[in-house]
């Protein structure tokens, strides 16, 4: 068995650690590229959401390298992600690829079917070993998100532009070469120290932007044209409302173990939305309110074209923007999104935010003409 999985930001690092601990033979799909997207767009249904298309591209490129088993997460609605596995299975079948899908979820068959799938994946390893591997992987995901967060802060303030980018690039290059959870953690810590050592310019007043929206487009840099880096290099500190570690801890582990969840957005969202409607719409609304309360300068909402929950959120955001006085930019991404147009919109938004902040700071100093 050669397992593969879809790309989603740092997922490849986490799954790599997981599979190495469990001694599962794996193939990491080639990084998402134009070809990945083209393959996906060609074979997936036209109006399917972007992540499904990119997944298909990932799978085909992995199968070309010898993968025969696809491992992914699932769900039971109402967001379409829960049915991805079924649709992708049919698409690959029609293309003549003979691969097995191991969707790790609680399907009709209940826990028994889940264990069967898990057993197929982990072979003769015990469930305890599997649990330990998951624990290690979770630890890595948390460390990775801390590293990302640190890079957002440093990038906006670095004295010499491009240092953080270079450091992170080096990290992503190296992390694919080291083996095992321990050395991955070690590398993360080292990179963290290196980042902290970067000289920063304390005189700049940075703008702060919160990013909300659908989780895949938020986390996979290929789909969002590396928006964090783009904004960071414009001197903006970014905060991403959804992180992988949070998703793993809150939605997978705590859900499975029926533990109490820590979801601050649920308390912030109610005046505008007081229920789960699938996907991450509730998070989008709640986190937007939180960002406004925390004094952020602006919010960017990202989601793939036709994403159902985010469309609902999008129709509420203008009201939040008005009532809480915070500019919100919605960016919708599909296979036809061009980088230049996308960047122009972001730059215009940032210019507006900078001007707005300046006006606010000096509002008392303006003198009306003739006085």
């Amino acid at each position: 068995m050669k397992a593969t999985f879809p790309h989603m930001g740092n997922v490849s690092i986490i799954v790599k650690a997981l599979f190495e601990t469990l001694e599962v033979d794996y193939i990491i799909p080639p990084a998402c590229s134009k070809r990945t997207l083209e393959l996906g767009t060609k074979y997936a249904p036209e109006l399917a959401c972007l992540p499904l298309k990119i997944n298909i591209g990932n799978f085909i490129e992995s199968i070309e390298q010898g993968a025969d088993t696809i491992v992914m997460a699932g769900g039971c609605g109402p967001c379409r992600f829960g049915y991805y596995g079924e649709v992708q299975k049919e698409i690959l079948k029609d293309l003549g690829y003979n691969v097995e899908f191991l969707v790790l979820e609680l399907p009709n068959g209940g826990i028994k079917e889940f264990l069967r799938r898990l057993r197929t994946l982990i072979g003769r390893k015990s469930l305890l070993q599997a649990a330990k591997a998951v624990q290690k992987a979770t630890k890595i995901s948390i460390a990775l998100d801390e590293l990302d967060k640190l890079s957002f802060q440093i990038r906006a303030r670095e004295a010499v532009k491009g240092k953080t980018d270079w450091m992170m690039k080096k990290f992503h290059h190296q992390v694919m070469k080291v083996k095992g959870a321990k050395s991955i953690i070690k590398l993360i810590r080292e990179t963290q120290k290196e980042l902290e050592a970067i000289e920063i310019d304390r005189s700049v007043r940075v703008l702060k932007i919160g990013i909300v929206g659908e989780i895949y487009t938020l986390i996979e840099p290929f789909t969002n044209f590396n928006i964090e880096q783009m904004l960071g290099n414009m001197g903006i500190e970014v905060d991403r409302s959804l992180t992988l570690s949070n998703w793993i801890v809150e939605h997978m582990i705590k859900q499975a173990l029926h533990l109490k969840k820590n979801r601050p957005y649920e308390k912030a969202a109610p005046p505008y939305m007081n229920t789960m409607i699938g996907g991450h719409a509730w998070e989008t609304i709640g986190n937007s309110v939180l960002y406004a309360q925390q004094g952020y300068d602006g919010i960017v909402q990202l989601y793939p074209f036709t994403c159902m929950p985010e469309i609902v959120a999008q129709s509420i955001l203008p009201t939040i923007s008005n009532e809480l006085d915070i500019p919100i930019l919605t960016l919708i991404i599909d296979e036809l999104t061009g980088e230049a147009g996308y960047k122009t919109r972001i730059e215009a938004f940032v210019d507006m935010l900078a001007r707005r902040k300046e006006e606010k700071a000096h509002s008392n100093e303006y003198i009306l003409s003739g006085n």
Partner: protein, 328 residues
């Protein structure tokens, strides 16, 4: 003066209107419907909703605009789930919010949540909540609730026997003059296929051609259930499940000459379900399959051409395909 409750003539109106009407009227509340869909109603909807919304949801906005100044309350229940373990669609869950934050000057909205995902008993609770807006008399509410359920059952039974929902609700006259040569299955959400403006009156057009039409609503729940139970993973969208089950069932039948899947642009569920259906049909049978997508730019001429070409193709194939090898 009696209280007026407005029900937009869109979305699940085609499925639940008899039930809601019976409930409100039993409580002495007057039910006001929006006008039948027209181009201006659709345009109003497009203007006040987010661009990304699907066509039926945009149309719903239009019907709300049409209705809002004529009524004391708007009835837009939050339909999260209408069957165990299933959902409808995220946009249905968030519909009250979408309306509230997109249209100004609305009367109060009754946005009671219906969520039968875990237990059916929540339905009685939801009706009670709606009833309490108008009266505190519990007996009256539960009487109205019983009446509503009864009306719904009668309505569904009639539909399963082969009557179109619009024939029952609106008394629409349907000329069925089939000459019996063709039978086409028309697959799609109720609000796409029964709204005469949106579907460009596709049912009447097929009838005009002398074609017998079968819609998913004509099939009994058991038939659908039997087929969807065979799916490797339960389809958690109630409407999607019905469409998928219907197509799987039709593949077994010998009397279907063609399948038309009518979907609306931007419908997330149709995007996946139509693809799954098409793959099944193409892989397992040679029944002609056509996917027609409706959007706000749909021109009737182009639509007619595709429909006519599809019918001609089926007729031509039926008449001329001899099953004799061309190689002699």
């Amino acid at each position: 003066m009696e209280v007026r409750v407005g029900i937009p003539r869109a979305l699940v109106y085609y499925e639940y209107y008899p039930m809601w009407k019976a409930f409100f009227e039993e409580l002495g509340v007057r039910v006001v419907l929006s006008d039948k869909t027209t181009k201006p109603i659709l345009n109003d909807g497009i203007n006040c909703s987010v661009d990304e919304a699907c066509l039926p949801v945009k149309l719903f906005h239009g019907h709300v605009v049409n209705l809002k100044d004529k009524v004391d309350y708007l009835f837009i229940p939050r339909l999260k789930s209408v069957a165990k373990g299933e959902y409808i669609c995220p946009k249905f869950c968030g519909l009250p919010e979408m309306i509230k934050y997109s249209i100004k000057g609305l009367p109060p909205i009754i946005d009671t949540e219906v969520n039968l995902r875990k237990t059916r008993s929540q339905l009685a609770h939801a009706f009670k909540e709606v009833g309490q807006v108008f009266t505190n008399n519990r007996k009256e509410i539960s009487k109205a609730y019983e009446k509503a359920l009864h009306e719904h059952d009668t309505f569904i039974q009639e539909v399963r026997k082969g009557k179109y929902p619009t024939e029952i609700i609106e008394g629409q006259k349907m000329l069925r003059k089939h000459n019996g040569d063709l039978c086409i299955a028309l697959i799609g959400h109720v609000y796409n296929i029964y709204d005469r403006h949106m579907s460009m009156d596709i049912i009447a057009k097929l009838h005009q051609e002398g074609i017998k039409v079968i819609t998913p609503e004509f099939l009994s729940d058991d038939v659908i259930q039997h087929k969807t139970d065979l799916l490797p993973k339960k389809m958690f969208w109630t409407f999607g499940e019905r469409l998928m089950g219907a197509v799987l069932h039709l593949l077994d039948r010998k009397d279907i000459d063609g399948i038309i899947y009518l979907m609306s642009f931007g419908c997330g569920i149709d995007a996946l379900v139509s693809d799954l259906c098409e793959r099944k049909v193409r892989r397992e049978t040679n029944i002609p399959f056509s996917l027609l997508t409706l959007d706000e730019h749909s021109g009737e001429a182009g639509f007619n051409t595709r429909l006519e070409a599809f019918i001609d193709m089926i007729r031509w194939r039926k008449r001329n395909e001899s099953n004799i090898s061309a190689h002699g």
